[in-house]
């Protein structure tokens, strides 16, 4: 195998095996920091040796064994420095290697530890991307427009807290599971949205690396928790959103509204998978949670051949269901968009105006108002609303879109 091929194979193995290696080492040594260092060393050894020696038959097992050896080396080196710790630490050395059988559960443990509610939300996101996703600290720092040193510190602090406060490496008990799963899903959804709605001037409007990573991790959680409706719902929601991403930004870098997108450019495979998941959940007859309802709304949109073909009464019924679970002003704003299609822009505007107190600082509130005012022929007010939306929007493609719509006003 040529060196570039081996490098590509190592990249692939890294994606597939990183979380397994970290999870197996964390279980054995109960130390995320040690697991991370040793896993990184094992991958570096692979980069050194595989081009000459060839890729082992079972790369995951090779990496876990190598990383375990690296971890033991580290512990011995530390022990030489600190005699007092020696006896306590060497207890770990004598045990036989853990069997590989329960590793799936270990990855799940790893995810729950990284997404523990005692860690701040952004810390959970960073730690999950590092430990489960295998992204490097510089990659995570870039994704969140944070300085590399600050991101490194955030992750180091989190690992220290997990160890010192004894945040458990465990799948939560059945009674805590739903709340903890929704905590994990919130992290994954945040990663996805950060990729899908990138903010900041001069950035790409969509970060496919982040959306792809979020989907990959959600697929992993779905394999580990196949019974969870909300996991399936979030995966479907991501797939049906990702499916439209090629049509969502024009060649000139402008956001394309749903009604104007080239539906032929949507990804049929992702849509089919998303629809299958939504149908599966409907068939269970279990009351859907937030992500499942959002996925169902997206399924209605992606089932329509064009915007006029959209079943708006179905969309509105789903939003009514969502409002009961989540009576937030943002849900009410999105519901108003469906109201506009069914009852006209006047009725929708009345609903939107009621949200002013809570959403005056949110660009989508002004963008929605601007569009409704435009449809009502109230150009002056529409222009003012577009101005405000442009001021508040952080996404470059969205700003370009809003600017064009404003400049087209009579």
């Amino acid at each position: 195998m040529s060196t570039p091929d081996v490098r590509e194979a190592i990249t692939h193995v890294h994606r597939a095996e990183w979380a397994w290696v970290i999870a197996a080492l964390t279980r054995r040594f109960r130390d995320l920091d040690l697991a991370e260092e040793a896993a990184a060393e094992a991958f570096a050894t692979a980069v050194e040796r595989w081009p000459a020696e060839g890729i082992p038959a079972n790369p995951g097992a090779w990496l876990t064994t190598t990383a375990t050896r690296k971890a033991l080396d580290r512990i011995r080196r530390e022990n030489k420095r600190d005699q007092k710790q020696r006896e306590a630490r060497m207890l770990h050395d004598n045990g036989p290697p853990e069997p590989l059988g329960a590793i799936d559960d270990d990855r799940l443990r790893l995810i729950f530890t990284c997404c523990h509610p005692a860690l701040e939300m952004r810390t959970r996101v960073a730690l999950t991307l590092r430990m489960v996703g295998g992204l490097t600290v510089p990659e995570i720092a870039r994704a969140f427009l944070v300085e590399e040193g600050a991101m490194g510190q955030r992750i180091t602090r989190a690992k220290a807290k997990i160890k010192a406060a004894r945040i458990p490496y465990r799948v939560p008990s059945a009674e805590d599971l739903p709340a903890r799963v929704s905590g994990v899903l919130a992290v994954l959804f945040l990663v996805f949205n950060e990729g899908y709605l990138v903010s900041g001037p001069g950035t790409d409007p969509i970060r496919r690396d982040l959306t792809a990573e979020a989907i990959r991790l959600t697929r992993l959680v779905r394999v580990l928790l196949p019974q969870s409706g909300e996991v399936a719902g979030l995966l479907a929601l991501m797939l049906l959103t990702e499916a439209r991403s090629a049509a969502r930004v024009s060649a000139s870098g402008e956001l394309v509204a749903l009604g104007e997108q080239d539906r032929g450019a949507w990804d049929g495979t992702l849509i089919a998978e998303g629809h299958r998941l939504v149908r599966e959940r409907l068939a269970t007859g279990v009351a859907p949670g937030r992500y499942q309802i959002l996925a169902a709304i997206n399924a209605v949109h992606t089932s329509a051949r064009d915007i006029r073909d959209t079943d708006w009464s179905q969309v509105l019924a789903l939003y009514d269901q969502l409002v009961r679970l989540d009576p937030s002003p943002i849900v009410a704003l999105n519901r108003a968009v469906a109201v506009a299609e069914l009852d006209g822009p006047q009725a929708a505007l009345a609903a939107v105006d009621r949200l002013e107190d809570s959403l005056a600082g949110y660009h989508a509130y002004h963008a929605t108002r601007a569009d409704l005012l435009r449809r009502l022929g109230r150009s002056e007010q529409s222009r003012a609303a577009y101005d405000r939306a442009i001021e508040l929007a952080g996404n470059t493609a969205e700003t370009a879109y809003l600017t064009r719509r404003r400049d087209q006003l009579a």
Binding site: A118, A165, R166, I167, P168, R170, P172
Partner: protein, 111 residues
């Protein structure tokens, strides 16, 4: 592993004698549970920060200051030291403690 479970009060938290009695009764029930389940190490209530005195003897002579070391609206009103196998168990107990004493709670590893 032991955790310090601190009760955080604030100066605006003025309650009637009846409310205080109800809180104390709830705390007693919680304390009995901690003892029965083997989590109890120690607990105590603190006097108001106004009655604190700070002493600093790092220099040549001890300097005595009237009042708490930190002036703030929020202050430590009492604490438990509990024994729990991990943070999940400690947080669960602390959540019940918070309900019982009707105050915010901070959980920290105690060495």
């Amino acid at each position: 592993m032991q955790y310090l479970v601190s009760v955080i009060d604030n100066t605006h938290n003025l309650i009637t004698a009846e409310e205080e009695a109800a809180e104390q009764a709830a705390i007693d029930v919680f304390n009995e549970r901690l003892q029965a389940e083997g989590h109890w190490v120690f607990a105590g209530g603190l006097g108001v920060p106004d009655n604190a005195t700070v002493i600093d003897n790092r220099g040549e002579e001890a300097v005595v200051t009237d009042g708490p070391f930190l002036e703030s609206k929020e202050y430590l009103a009492g604490f438990w030291i509990i024994d729990a196998p991990d943070l999940d168990v400690a947080l669960k107990l602390a959540a019940e403690g918070s309900k019982a004493c009707n105050r915010k709670i901070e959980v920290r590893p105690f060495h």
